[in-house]
């Protein structure tokens, strides 16, 4: 069975877990570690290149770099609960 530091994993992605959540996650984790073994069983799995994208066509293009005013500052900030004037305010970083 894999050993994991669940608190570290959670801290790295900025979430925290209740003790109940930790327990439940460990149960799910065991299930998926078992599932992952099916990948090890794939013939020649470690001999092929990873496939990050399945379609071979070129899709790159460059658009003209033309400035465009889409939204006002007020609109852009309208979904923040931390807005003051034209700023997003957070607690002091340098103390």
């Amino acid at each position: 069975m894999e050993k994991i530091d669940i608190k570290k994993l959670a801290r790295e992605i900025l979430i925290s877990l209740s003790p109940e959540e930790e327990k439940e996650f460990m149960e799910e984790f065991s299930y998926f570690i078992e599932q992952f073994k099916k990948l090890e069983a794939l013939p020649h799995v470690d001999e092929v290149a990873p496939m990050f994208f399945p379609i071979k066509e070129e899709r790159d293009f460059l658009r003209e770099d033309e400035p465009e005013a889409l939204y006002s500052t007020k609109e852009i900030l309208s979904n923040s609960k931390n807005m003051k004037d034209t700023f997003i305010v957070i607690p002091k970083v340098v103390k």
């Binding site: 900025l14 925290s16 996650f25 998926f32 069983a41 470690d46 899709r59 997003i88 957070i90």
Partner: protein
Amino acid sequence: MSHLNLTISELHALYVSGMTTPLNVVNEVIDALQKDKNNILEATMFDEARAFAATLKVVEEDNLLWGIPFLVKDNFATKGTETNGSSNILNGYIPLFDAEVITRLKALKAIPIAKTTLDELGMGGKGITGHKGITYNPYGEEKTRIVGGSSSGSASGVASGYVPFSLGSDTGDSIRKPASWAGIVGFKPTWGEISRFGLYSFMPTLDHVGFFTRSVYESAYLYEVTKGFDEKDFTTNIKPSPSVLSDITTPLKGRKIAVLKPIMDVMRNQNLIKEFNSLVQKLKDQGAIVDFVPFDEAILAAILPTYFMLSCAETITCNANLTGINFGNKVEGNSYEEIVLNTRTAGFSSKIKYRFLLGNFVLQKSKRNAYYDRAQRGRRIIVDAFNALFETYDTILLPAAPSHAPRIGEKSEPNSEIENNYMAIANFGGYPSITLPLGLDKGLPLGVNLTSHIHQDGKLLNIAYQIEQLTNLYNLHVGQVK
């Protein structure tokens, strides 16, 4: 006269004949949605829909979508209407723009009428993890069965006959599985054919935009009018793809269809097997060549772990912007790190946290090669195997689920994981894939799925259209069955 339970084409015919107006239809749909008991709704756009419908006076005879109301899965951004992805972390978030697919539908004067529930942020296959709780299947006894997910509300709403079509998204089978359990058509095209601009990302190379309808032709039509390059989504296909409507009625003679024998071998529902075999016989009678082909079971067994590992890993990045700082449902803290941690801890459900944790685990430096990279290698083996099959066959035909919709809390039989999760192949390869009704089992829908090679959307829709002719399950909806 009721305007519910009608297809796009039937509503259009009423508009053309002057027998009703978009406003009449919209009012009736709103009334029905307000009485819905299946928990399908997030935010509504009733006032905007009425106002827009009232402006539609002169019918456009060549435009099937003129005045047609539709539902939108709540992971598509809608300008001015809350879009929270059925997650508490986005409660109150109001986008400044429409998703591109909505822009294109609105340009054709289709009318978005409400947002629909989903498994939180699109992650889940049952329609039970959204922040509003379980979305129910309109079939069976009231509130007893799941409809599937993640596009649960969009599927339930079309099966209920409220609207003739809805928008969904599909990362593993999130359109095609609920379509099966709801007895409707669910289609996702080749990856990159419809812009994902404005769709909340789950795993970008697996995410697809698609539709629920009650006829194959109408899924094809919606695809036809929404596909094509979008400079706001640089992953859309630059090359225009051919029309899928011109050949949709082509006879089946000579079409080559593969049925994966190992998947059929684990099916246990006798009605499903009977209906499926009956369909195969009808296809043969039409001149199609249908082969039950062997397939490497180790590859089939690798589909679920590959999907889970890749999607959990990549979704961490896709959702890293959900911090509560720039937007979203902020929870206070004494530092910005604490704000982010408190916001994310309170905003995500446990199930989402588990996916993120698992994703973070497989991306750890010491684990990445054994897990994440191996899953990407697994993806290649899976896709190569299916690409090889498509060298011989036009499509793969299989039941979309091993049975009808399960009761809440009940596992889907027979639950070997392969038959319940195989449809993710279409996401791994970017293949077009469609589910449509196969029959009824004790009054509950059964679905059949077709998957073809990339850019073979036309051929796929042609075969699906002909299957619909054979099953005669055009415009199946719950009012017809109950």
